[in-house]
């Protein structure tokens, strides 16, 4: 296969030299790399903020930071991890992989691709600069509930609003690009139901982004108008309603959490199938499960607001709708396990992360089911149990899948194999770190410790100490991850085009590393 590609090679030019290569690039591989490095930088910044939070919570009482600064760390940690780390990482993976997986030469809109990446650093520069402004950075939590984020917000809230506008625009452009590429540029013979699952997962994710990012833009625009132009969308004195903010926010927010997990489903499906040396079990049910999850995500938003005083009928509706999501999710977990069943499994680093994903994401899913039970939620609401729940689905869920993807496709991207021993060490340190950090938070949450509080009652002291130790272990092991990736990019054992024994998909038919332009002539898919 690689010989076929090489014969086309002399028609193509390589990348430009120097810094302008990265500034002006319209190449999907370059832009994918930019997204991935940007997201890793954000991951480290957001992680450092998480460590400030955990350090303060190491012991009861106020030790290290002022409560006001604690609130700013908490808010920025959430915003940076959601919008700066997880989402750009998935967009980076989509840029690298979608064109190569569907046999397209590049993304459909290469210049818009460049724009949607390069506005991101400015959005986050603006958001982070608020730390140095009078009144400090946003301090109202990543959910920015009104009136905390309007009437009581620091003056820097306007910078926050504009940075959300910019990163929303970036996501929307990225989503349009992905959809147009997938719908119009697939290789001949690749029907929708022959697409790799990562491509499917991104197609669905992109539609979710198109549907809800404009709603987020609308919500922050209303905030802007309330703060500066005297409107009363969320101001009760003027006839508005603060609860309306929560409805609009979570109408965006719930599909948003699936935006952060659907691509992970796609990644894990590829990896489990490869390292089990079996075809994925139940391909079409995987597709339909993702479609059902995406549709259901629009009718469950109020399960985040069970305690605002909704009528019984609404509480029951949102409880049942939420529980319904467990069905397609269960189908997916079943299919992953069935794929591994009687497979010839080997445990390379990507597979370790993928198996940990299945186990730990399912734990997060189960605590989600517990939170969906309306009467029980009145106890769990706004406690550390919720913190434990969403960190289980986001850290060993979304982030483990991104790490698995990096280990799985890095040899393809740079042509060198990573150090398997170091990779496994990184996995085990992360796996232990993540569980030591977040599992105890279930206990202190059920015991009643509220979230978003810099100080706590004495009975929560022991588990908080454990949690902090785990957090520093997890944080430190990501430096090892950085080291492994940098070393692999610099050199190492050469990777074959196939990289992994029996790996399926068009991306494994081109060289490792792939030529700067792949599939200028579309491959034939049977």
């Amino acid at each position: 296969m690689s010989a076929v590609i090489e014969s086309h090679d002399d028609h193509h030019h390589g990348p430009a030299k120097g810094l302008t290569r990265w500034l002006f690039t319209t190449n999907h591989k370059d832009i994918g790399t930019l997204y991935l490095w940007f997201s890793f930088a954000m991951f480290l910044i957001g992680g450092a903020m998480a460590l400030v939070i955990r350090a303060e919570l190491f012991q009861p009482g106020m030790q290290i930071v002022e409560p006001e600064f604690y609130n700013q760390m908490l808010t920025l940690h959430g915003l940076i991890m959601v919008f700066g780390a997880v989402m750009p990482a998935f967009v980076g993976l989509a840029n690298w992989l979608v064109p190569m997986m569907v046999g397209a030469p590049d993304m459909a809109l290469p210049r818009m691709n460049n724009l949607s990446f390069w506005i991101l650093p400015f959005a986050f520069l603006m958001m982070l600069s608020s730390l140095f402004m009078e009144g400090g950075a946003p301090n109202f939590g990543w959910t920015f509930y009104a009136p905390l984020s309007t009437t009581y917000a620091p003056p820097s809230v306007t910078f926050f609003i504009f940075s959300v506008h910019i990163l929303g625009a970036s996501s929307i452009m990225g989503a349009i690009n992905v959809i147009v590429t997938i719908m119009n540029m697939r290789a001949p013979g690749m029907t929708l139901m022959k697409m790799p699952l990562f491509v499917w997962s991104w197609l669905i994710t992109a539609y979710l982004l198109i549907a809800v990012m404009p709603v987020l833009a609308g919500a922050v625009t209303m905030m802007l108008m309330d703060i500066h132009f005297g409107t009363s969308f969320f101001n009760a004195a003027g006839g508005g309603d603060p609860v309306l903010f929560q409805h609009i926010f979570w109408f965006f927010g719930h599909p948003e959490v699936y935006i952060m997990i659907l691509p992970a489903f796609g990644i894990v499906s590829h990896i489990i199938s490869t390292f089990s040396r079996k075809e994925l079990f139940g391909y079409s049910s995987m597709v339909w499960a993702m479609v059902s999850i995406a549709i259901l995500s629009f009718v469950v938003w109020a399960h985040h607001m069970f305690t605002v005083g909704m009528p019984l009928a609404a509480e029951l509706f949102f409880m049942w709708a939420t529980m319904l999501i467990a069905v397609p999710t269960g189908v997916k977990v079943f299919n992953w396990v069935a794929t591994m069943f009687r497979g010839s499994i080997t445990y390379e680093t990507p597979m370790l992360f993928a198996i940990a994903f299945v186990v730990l994401f399912t734990i997060g899913g189960f605590s989600g089911l517990m939170l969906a039970i309306t009467p029980a939620d009145f106890q769990y609401h706004d406690t550390y149990f919720v913190v434990a729940h969403f960190h289980y689905v986001l850290v060993p869920g979304a982030i483990f899948s991104i790490m698995a993807a990096v280990y799985y496709w890095l040899p393809k991207w740079c042509g060198n194999m990573y150090d398997e021993r170091l990779g496994r060490l990184h996995f085990w340190l992360s796996f232990i770190g993540v569980n030591v950090t977040f599992f105890p938070q279930h206990f202190i949450g059920l015991a009643g410790m509220p979230r978003r509080i810099p100080d706590y009652a004495l009975q929560f002291a022991d588990w908080n100490m454990v949690s902090t130790v785990g957090a520093f272990l997890f944080g430190a092991s990501q430096i090892l991850f950085l080291f492994i990736v940098v070393r692999t990019v610099m050199g190492g054992k050469k990777a074959t085009p196939e990289v992994w024994e029996g790996a399926q998909g068009l991306e494994w038919t081109v060289d490792s590393p792939p030529p700067y332009h792949t599939f200028s002539t579309p491959p034939e898919v049977k």
Binding site: M185, V215, F233, G309, P311
Partner: protein, 194 residues
Amino acid sequence: MNEGGKKTIKMLSLAVLGMFFFSFALVPLYDVFCEVTGLNGKIDLSPTRIVESDISEGRDITVQFVSHNNEQMPWDFGPSDEVINITTGKYYTATYYVKNTTSRAMVAQAIPSVAPSNAAAHLKKLECFCFEQQILKSGEEALLPVRLIFDNELPDNINNIVLSYTIFDVTEDNLDELASYMHEHGEDHHSMGS
């Protein structure tokens, strides 16, 4: 870019615009939804026509009045009677006492809420101080009326209803109204310094 691609881009851009406007459409939709279903304890902020009801079909219920001051709203504000026993289908007038305890003229707005929320749809108000803003000079006091009726369709399981008013300081947003009010009432502008 082929024709199919251009069409996809056009459709997606329209969808983005549509969803942006939809987020604003959620605001009136939410209000209409709450009003129609009576959810959220929201009450129609405009007077209703006189409702003719058969008092003989009415039943006895208890209405409790409560008051809240929003944030640092310094006025004295509270119901004249905390509890009244009334019959559905019949008009009653209740009053709230209010006094501007500050040394300047202020504008206030009261926002009502009803619990349980499914009683809200059955509460009709012929007049209410919450329909308009209140302007009180320094030290001025007033008795604010609300003329209300609960209709006979009030669900049988509701015997006790709480009617709550929260009073907000809206002076900053209504300086023009305050100025013209003070002008009409022959006060010079120095007394309304903030």
